[in-house]
Symmetry: D2
Subunit: 366 residues, 4 copies
């Protein structure tokens, strides 16, 4: 049953497959009057381009977004905005073998069982990371909407394989450094180590995972609609739809489990006439509501499932054990390209909730 729409006030509906005509999105509920050009979207989309750097797949996707509806005279109209990104440069033959031999770590087998073998298996079809290009295109609009409220959304790589950045990274470091290195890391020294981690795995025909952190600044307090549409609930839901995500945590996250209450509670103080908290173990969300402090979410990615190494699998036709060696061009680490995706997901949820909470007008005048 249908599950390709997300959000309630700002509804994102996605479509498209890796090797079909295109991937795309319909964004419904965007207020009228927001200035919007194709370039506004393209600049975000370019951030997840493959082939830019040593750590990423040599495929050339040259993603170009097309805006099919909802924009008129350079502004949004209030009607749904349809965005498409045509697919190119697909080598579908490489995927013929997976029709009967599911790749370990991929959705191949579960998809065959669910869709009766009618799914588009080429390049992973609907399960490909390529679908996230549509999230980024829509996310560009969400980010512009949030900017009208002064909200800024950032993301950066904090771990690749066994290399982690030091914990405290300033927002300025994120703003300045992330797109200056191949791994989208805010700390240049760590970036170098991370690049080596990826290179080493690639050499060995293997892959590595990592962790992306996203941050939202100046988020008004009170976003989130408990009990079930809590802000953290909706952010987590959105993050887990990104392929390869295995964990999501806010603020102190899993570390909080081993902390004492007196240590974990964020004490309140008055600063510049406003109530603030002295620490942010909550990651900007308590009781499912934004607190006004920065929202901090970390997203764990497993290593790329497609690896050159020989793996055990099953030939479904013959129902006997077999082996597979995944060919084609694949990122040895998808984390760097996931950075703008995670950023977009956070932006889309925040914009939806800003609308739901009545913080954003239905018509943007400025």
């Amino acid at each position: 049953m249908s599950g390709n729409s997300a959000g309630k006030a700002l509804v994102l509906t996605c479509f498209g497959e890796s090797h079909g005509t295109c991937v795309g999105a319909v964004l419904d509920g965007c207020p009228a009057g927001l200035p919007l050009t194709v370039d506004d979207i393209q600049v975000e989309l370019d951030k997840r381009k493959p082939g830019l750097t040593a750590v990423s797949t040599p495929r050339k996707e040259e993603d170009q977004v097309e805006v099919l509806s909802g924009v008129f005279n350079g502004r949004t109209t209030g009607a749904p905005i349809c965005l498409t990104i045509r697919n190119r440069d697909a080598e579908s033959e490489a995927y013929e073998q997976i029709k009967n031999k599911p790749r370990p770590g991929h959705a191949d087998l579960a998809a065959i069982l669910k869709y009766g073998g009618f799914g588009d298996y080429r390049g992973g079809g609907r399960f490909s990371g390529r679908v996230t290009a549509a999230y980024v295109a829509a996310g560009a609009i969400a980010k512009k909407l949030l900017a009208t409220l002064g909200v800024e959304v950032l993301a950066h790589t904090v771990q690749i394989g066994k290399v982690k950045t030091v914990k405290d990274v300033s927002f300025d470091q994120v703003r300045e450094n992330v797109y200056g290195n191949a791994v989208r890391c805010a700390v240049p020294e760590s970036a170098g180590l991370m690049e080596k981690e990826v290179a080493k795995a690639a050499e060995e025909g293997d892959s590595v995972g990592g962790v992306v952190e996203a941050v939202a600044l100046n988020v008004p307090a009170g976003l989130g609609e408990p009990v079930f549409d809590s802000l953290d609930s909706d952010v987590a839901k959105m993050m887990f739809n990104v392929p390869a995500v295995k964990g999501v945590e806010f603020g102190a996250g899993f570390q909080a489990a081993s902390m004492r209450g007196s240590e974990n509670n964020d004490a309140y103080a008055v600063q510049k006439g406003k109530v603030t908290s002295l620490t942010n173990n909550a990651g900007g969300i308590i009781g499912g509501l934004s607190t006004g402090m920065p929202i901090v979410v970390r997203v764990a990615f497993k290593p790329t499932s497609s690896i050159a190494k020989r793996q055990r699998t099953v030939n479904l036709e013959k129902m006997k054990e077999s082996e597979i060696q995944v060919t084609g061009r694949h990122d040895p680490c998808i984390v760097p390209r996931a950075v703008p995706v995670v950023e977009s997901c956070l932006a889309l949820v925040l914009a939806d909730h800003a609308l739901r909470a009545g913080k954003m007008p239905r018509v943007i005048k400025a």
Copy 2:
């Protein structure tokens, strides 16, 4: 804007406050014909009772569920099932101070900002852990629905404070041991250490957090509706609405970030004529779909926010810094009572998705 409903085929709508008349739930979409008695629900509800054990609050809630609709002649009718659990034994006076002095770690401040001070602040009102009693009541029905498909859902404490259980716990240990100790741990030796961890924190007027793991067995492959209503997305969303949850991970979870692909991928094999995977780092979900392997999800809880220790806060009326000492009776660790809640949340999402995927009939005959 409304956010108190969860699920699409099996829709749970919750209501009620900690110190109001009752907490309750409407479960809509339950197939007709399921045998259901008040006792079926009460037995699950009793698992989250406070006051049973040394580690838990001395409040006596004596939660008694009432079934107001949707059941006739001992079976569900297909109409919405309304369940209420009356509140008793509330000491609301203890909460007068928090009207103007938000408790650190609690939703008090964000709630005041969102609801203009009109919220029911007594006992945390709508933000109280007490609302989860309604999840457990509804979850009892979800578990009965899943049982008709042979699906079993279990949960247990795997960490309290700094004490963790050894990683591999058998399902039989979970079934047998969890409700035999105060901390709901499947490993008796660990249970003892965990109880001490809680006791020590309590003595010091402090609190501890922990981690609950839930497992679902015999889940049919193909549950989940990608891309946005992925099974892990919906499970995570449901878990994050439980008060105090700060992290959710599936299978290898955050550990997967530092693994190699060759290590993390679960190789396929044929066992007893069926395809299975030799490991379960995926936690039973790939590409947002259940794989047929056990679903394994871990949920991190922060330490209880209400602690006896003196904390820094702000007097909102005077806009100046102040202190607060939270009185009233509070669990020094809410993890043990969260075990049946986490179990219920997983059951509710799985039952919803089994219906969505067409795995469950609209009328149960048996």
Copy 3:
């Protein structure tokens, strides 16, 4: 699959059966701060009481609403409001015969086919007009919300059997006369004729239908979210869930089909510095949006299905033709009691759309 919730920003979830414990509603999404007492609701509920008048059933329901959640210190809190109305005075034995002999005009047969015979058939169960008591209770809150915007919602009987009121009834007539006669008609002369129409049918063991018109005044322009959540779409959807409704039309309605464009188009003019239309054939809605003119909707009710006359039916157990004579106490015309229901349905949809369109604050201060 679940279908007992309506609305998106203001979500009404209903439950309960005719002869079960109660009927009830959860209203989720109501802004915080709205002054609300039990009496505010009870006064609306009393309008649909049976047994008040000669034209209505002698059953004594004495509907008393209970507010279980979402109200604190005389104001709404922003949390879901659960309302229940206990059932009394049920004579369930009269319904034993319908288990196997479906009553013509009733949902009995379709319900058996859908719910496998597990439905609560007593008094029509979930299909009883009694469920609309919950709509009226929730509608009382919607009306109070709309009043904060200056919106007024009215309803009156315009046809019973073959007796119609003259077409143009002033809003003042509606306000003053409707609850002054048994048939809820704004024109006293017509009311007399209508009462006779009902009495005559009753004498003959038969029943009559009719038409209710609802009007909303001072509705801000621009409510409605085309293309699918158009204002007329959502109003019509809500009306058709009221038992016995067979037709819905706005403004000129079916008459418009035989009009010329030049005759049907409402010309614009400037009055008191504001744009207005000189006629209102549109019934206040064009293109799915409110125009600012009064919203006018008419709802056709079929005659009560339960009649004393002998009717042809089928004995389902024996699969042979049979007869049935419906006993029990039934309204010979349900139209008068439907008047507050239709009014409530219109109010609920308008309040939902006022919230969706950003016309209503999330916190009501006044």
Copy 4:
């Protein structure tokens, strides 16, 4: 707030404007395995083509559907199906005048008030009847889905202006005659009179309305999810989103209001071993559930708002009264082109409810 999606199991999301790049639809939730070609859709789309006949606008739209996703190797995959229909032949200059002078009977004024003047006003933009091309394209898929259950959906014109067909038209007449005349009428004699009615209005620079009836045969009993997602509720909601619709009725409809219960109730009998009703005043729906009898719904259309005659309006810039003469090419009666639209709307709702009620598999094997 977003309102461009309809349905719950089979979700239709629409986008596009009259004079923009295209109109389109995403259909999400279609089972996998349904054989589907571009021609299957094109043949339905061709039924609403303008310019075919004397009664319709001379615009040449040459609608060609493109399938962007969700179909692979000639079958649906279970992924969302995106359909686009490019716009051509647009004369946008004709619409410059309406920026400040709203056309009577059109959504112009309400749209300006809602979207702050940022809406795409060319050709009515999002409010144009052109958006219904996307409904027909998606409806073609719904009809193919229903055909797998043996369900057939038909529609025909039963009234244009003051000319009505005789009431009883056989299903065979509908199947054979509807697309054999310009007005889509099942009775050739009436068709001639209707054509004259349209021609006469056109000559006078005026327009006429009419009524379309849709019928669904072999619908399984028990579709519909009361109380709020009743089958008639959802059908009516879908119909009212079609531009120019002012009334919807089922079976006896508004006539039922003046009938007696003994006359309106459909008596049951046994025919060929099955329970059937001897009449169908219910129009195939009772209590919001399909009864197994033919579903009969009638939809009233107002006369085309765009007429050549001079009309009173207001110049919004100057806030003074003015006149407008609508130029451009417009159908003097949109009813004939609405026939396939009404048919598609009924098909879409029935397919959605067949999925919701568990009557349709998630994978179509055949």
